[in-house]
Amino acid sequence: MLKIENLHTSVEQKNILKGLNLAIKPGEVHAIMGPNGAGKSTLGFILSGREGYQVTDGSVSFKGEDLLDMEIEERARKGLFLAFQYPVEIPGVSNMQFMKESLNAIREQRGETPLTAAEFLKKAKEACKQVQLPLDFLKRGVNEGFSGGEKKRNEIMQMILLEPSLCILDESDSGLDIDALQVVANGVNSQRDGKRSFIVITHYQRLLDYIKPDYVHILANGKVVKSGDASLAQDLEKEGYAFLGQDHSEETNA
C-alpha cells in the first residue's frame, strides 16, 4: 500500500524528517507516536502534499506509484485521506456542497458515475448518523463554528463517505472527551475491512485502547527509533519518552 524509504524533509530550511522508513500493507493499522516536534504531523502533510513541505531525499510509493510526484488532489483521488488535526473553517461553502464535490471528484477517478443530489444526501445522512452529528451540520458552512470535537467527527464523516484506501489520522483524538473519542474510534473501526490501511498519529495510548494497532512506531527527531506491536504503546504510557535520552520539552508541531 505505502512504502516510505529514507524520507528527508524540510520546512522553511529546517530539517524535520531525517531518514524515515515505513512500509504498510493493505489492511494494516500502524500507530505513530512520539514527542512534540518529532515530525508526526509533518509526515501527514508530506504524504498529502501540502505546499511548503519539501522532500530533500528519499521516496514514497503509494500502490506502486510515485506519490511525491502527484498533485494534492490526485493523491486524494487515488485513495489517500488525511484527517486533519486542525480542520479549517470555510464560511459560505456548505458541508454538503463540499462533500458532494469531493465525493464526485473521487468517484470520477474510480470510474463511477457522479451521485445525484438525492443519492448523495442519503449517503451523507448515514455518515452523519454514524459519527453522531446532527443532520443540520450538512447545511452549515464547512466546520464553521463547529467545536473541536465536532470538527474531528466531521473529518471522520468525510473519511466514511470517501472510502479511501489509506487513512492518515493526525491526532484525531486530541481535545476529545471520552464519549467523542469513542465516536471517532467507532467510526474508524467501522471502516476496517481488511483492505483499508491506517496510519494513526497520536500522542497518547488512550486512542489505541479503542483502535487496536497492528504496529506501533515511535518517531523521534525525524526517524522511527523503535517499532513493535500494541504493547509498545502501553510501555510508553508507563515510562514516557525518557528512554529516548534527549530533551523533549514542549515544542509546537504545526
Binding site: R50, E71, E73, P87, M99
Partner: protein, 419 residues
C-alpha cells in the same frame, strides 16, 4: 474644455426632439464641467484614458441579436441593440396597469410627465449622466398604475456590438401601492462605448424589485447608473451584479424622499484579469424614519483595479434613520487592487448607522484542505468565490433569475482564475 467632451456637446446640440429643452440644460452643465482627472475625488481611481483612446469603427452591423431566455422567468423582454429599441412595444401583450412607450414616440402626456421627472431623480453631479442626457434619444418610459401588481418581470436587455457607441435611458414610475420587478441586463465584449441611466420613481407604499446585471467585459466600456426616488413607505430591493471591462463604472443613488421608506441594495462585482470597475453609491436619507441596508461584495482578480465608494448621507431632519453599509472584498492576487471607501455623513442626532469595509485574500490553507479531498484547485477556487458572494445571490428575491445566474457566475469565476 477637453476635445472629447467638446465633440459630445457638438453632437448633443445637433439633436432636435422633445427632449431638447432638457438636453440644453445638460449641455450647459457640461460646458461648465472640467474633464475629470485624478484630482477630482469622484474619479480619483478611475482614469478615463481608455475611453478617450477608444477607436470605434462605427461599423453598423444590423445584426439581429439572439436573446437568451431565462428558464421559468416568463419575463416581458425589451431589447436594445446599440441603444436602439428593437422590440415592437405595440405587439407586446402588456398586463393590465402596465404602460410602456419608447422615447422616440412618446405621447405628449408621457413627454410632459417625463420632462418633469427627468430632472428630479438622477442628481446632476454625474458627468456621464449629463452625457447621457445630452446624447440619449431612445429609451423607455414605463408607467405602472397605482395598485397594480405586475407579476411578470420586465426585462430590459441592452446589447452592445463591435465598434458602436450608444446612449439610452429608462424612466419608470411606479404608482402608489403598486408592485413590479425590473431586470436590467447589459452585455457586450467587443470595442464599444455605452451609457445607460435608469431612473425610478417609487410611489407611496409601492414595492420595486430591481436587478442590474452589468455584464460588459473586455473592450466594452460601459458607464451607467440607477437612481431611485422613494416616496412614503416605498420599498426597494435591488441587486447589482457587475463584471469589469477596460473601463466600467456604475453610479447608484437611492433617495429617501418620503418617511418610512425601506431600501436594500446588494451589489456584487466580479473582476477578471486587468479589468477596471468602479462602483459609487449614495444613499440620501432626506427625511425621518427611513431604513437602508447596503451590502457590496467584490472579488478582485489579477491586475484588476477596482473602486468602491459607498456614501450614506443623513440629512438634518432624517431622525430615526437606520442605515447600514458594508463592503467586503476578496483579492485573488497580490497584483489586484481595490480602493474602498465607505462614507457616513450624518447631520441628525438620533440615528443608527454602521459602516465597514474589509479586504481579504484567498487562504492557501483552505485551498489545501479542499484539494486534499480530491477537489481540483480551479474547482476549489470556484467554490471559495461562490462562498464569498453566495449569501447575496441567495438573497435575490427571484430565484429563477438566481438559478440562471449561477452557472454563469461559475464560468465567470473560471475566467477570473489566477494561474
Amino acid at each position: 474644455m477637453s476635445q472629447w467632451l467638446q465633440q459630445v456637446i457638438d453632437r448633443g446640440q445637433a439633436i432636435d426632439d422633445w427632449l431638447s429643452p432638457l438636453r440644453a440644460q445638460a449641455l450647459d452643465a457640461l460646458s461648465n464641467t472640467k474633464w475629470p482627472d485624478r484630482r477630482v475625488e469622484n474619479w480619483k481611481y478611475t482614469s478615463l484614458e481608455p475611453l478617450v483612446n477608444l477607436q470605434l469603427s462605427g461599423y453598423a452591423a444590423t445584426e439581429k441579436a439572439t436573446i437568451e431566455k431565462i428558464d421559468d422567468l416568463n419575463s416581458l423582454d425589451l431589447v436594445f441593440v446599440n441603444g436602439k429599441l428593437q422590440s415592437d412595444i405595440r405587439a407586446l401583450p402588456l398586463p393590465k396597469g402596465l404602460h410602456i412607450s419608447s422615447l422616440l414616440n412618446a405621447s405628449v402626456k408621457d413627454q410632459n410627465a417625463a420632462t418633469g421627472l427627468f430632472t428630479k431623480i438622477k442628481p446632476q453631479r454625474h458627468l456621464f449622466g449629463l452625457i447621457n442626457d445630452a446624447l440619449a434619444e431612445d429609451g423607455l418610459i414605463i408607467d405602472i398604475d397605482a395598485d397594480s401588481q405586475i407579476e411578470q418581470p420586465i426585462r430590459i436587455i441592452s446589447i452592445n456590438t463591435d465598434g458602436q457607441e450608444s446612449h439610452h435611458r429608462i424612466l419608470l414610475r411606479l404608482g402608489s401601492h403598486a408592485r413590479a420587478t425590473v431586470i436590467e441586463q447589459g452585455q457586450g465584449e467587443k470595442a464599444s462605448f455605452s451609457t445607460l441611466f435608469a431612473e425610478y420613481d417609487i410611489g407611496e407604499q409601492a414595492y420595486l424589485e430591481h436587478y442590474r446585471l452589468a455584464m460588459h467585459t473586455h473592450q466594452a466600456i460601459h458607464i451607467g447608473g440607477c437612481h431611485f426616488n422613494l416616496q412614503q413607505r416605498a420599498e426597494l430591493n435591488t441587486t447589482m451584479i457587475a463584471y469589469g471591462s477596460d473601463l466600467s463604472r456604475m453610479d447608484i443613488d437611492i433617495i429617501h424622499n418620503g418617511e418610512y421608506a425601506k431600501a436594500k441594495l446588494n451589489a456584487v462585482y466580479l473582476l477578471g484579469e486587468s479589468e477596471h470597475f468602479d462602483l459609487h453609491s449614495t444613499i440620501e436619507h432626506k427625511v425621518a424614519n427611513g431604513t437602508s441596508e447596503e451590502n457590496a461584495r467584490g472579488i478582485v482578480g489579477d491586475k484588476v483595479k477596482a473602486v468602491f465608494n459607498g456614501r450614506i448621507h443623513i440629512h438634518r431632519d432624517a431622525q430615526k434613520t437606520v442605515a447600514k453599509l458594508n463592503n467586503r472584498n476578496l483579492l485573488l492576487s497580490r497584483r489586484g487592487q481595490i480602493n474602498t471607501k465607505p462614507e457616513l455623513e450624518i447631520y441628525a442626532d438620533d440615528v443608527q448607522c454602521a459602516h465597514g469595509a474589509t479586504i481579504a485574500e484567498i487562504d492557501e490553507g483552505t485551498l489545501y484542505y479542499l484539494r486534499s479531498r480530491g477537489i481540483s484547485r480551479s474547482q476549489a477556487l470556484v467554490m471559495l468565490n461562490f462562498g464569498f458572494i453566495q449569501e447575496l445571490v441567495n438573497e435575490m428575491p427571484n430565484q429563477h433569475l438566481a438559478q440562471w445566474l449561477k452557472p454563469r457566475l461559475k464560468s465567470r469565476f473560471m475566467e477570473m482564475e489566477v494561474k
